[in-house]
Symmetry: C3
Subunit: 110 residues, 3 copies
């Protein structure tokens, strides 16, 4: 089972930044839907273990648009190396997948 | 690496609806476990950008049961086109995967 | 599209346990980043439907280290059968993927 669709995970440093990126991606039709939720992130940076409040963006999109999506996120994001990782949708409700396709692919016609 | 198992993502319009769907799927043994968390969703609908409070369901299941799972969700869900998307589990702790298999596959014997 | 990288999902029974496991995985360089968020889990156990508050760990790592990661989690976790499931990252921002690789693979040199 496989589809062209996927979810892309991005973290942002604040709710304001997360919402700004989410609205920009949806308005640019690079994402059909973006869900936001608060998280705490624990990670290594310059060999130090850090713990920060962040916001998780879960972006539902067509992965054939991944390069354009990544470029837009890196243009908007305040981090030097933002998390931008894609997981594959291997099955889905047909009307929902068609909705993602119609929404996001109309981007490539702009 | 690959398995028959996966997680299925669904969003619902309220905590009440999310819990009702989650309990129904677990009781019907179509899901071994469903986790729930509040999210904000930003999306396009009829060419308008919308922003709503929703609840995310993360359903741990056997993807060979996806059609039965989808049918049950669409029967219960208030949305016309609910998000129902499956991501593949490619590796996992054997006892946990066996637990998913024993729990969900006993559904197909009912 | 495919990479060696992935996200590993684990649930824990409390914030304290979730943070302890997250810090241990990052300090051991078995994970580049772990995000934490509160969830409610509905599941079957000994044929009873249960509903508990839990914490979701979303671990960003190199899946070639999955066995070492699983062993460490099972050593630390209070559950007999903890959720430890891996989803594949099929595409990602190159600097971010390189950061995961540099962080986690330095584990295998220890």
């Amino acid at each position: 089972m496989t589809t062209n669709y996927g979810i892309v995970l991005v973290t942002a440093g604040s709710q304001t930044e997360a919402e700004a990126i989410a609205f920009a991606l949806v308005e640019a039709k690079l994402a059909a839907c973006v869900s936001l939720s608060p998280i705490r992130s624990i990670y290594t940076w310059s060999d130090e273990v850090c713990s920060d409040e962040e916001w998780q963006l879960t972006i539902k999109t067509d992965l054939t648009q991944f390069e354009a999506l990544e470029a837009k996120i890196r243009q908007l994001h305040s981090y030097e190396v933002p998390e931008i990782i894609a997981l594959p949708i291997v099955a889905g409700s047909l009307p929902y997948l068609q909705w993602i396709g119609q929404t996001v692919n109309s981007h490539s016609l702009n």
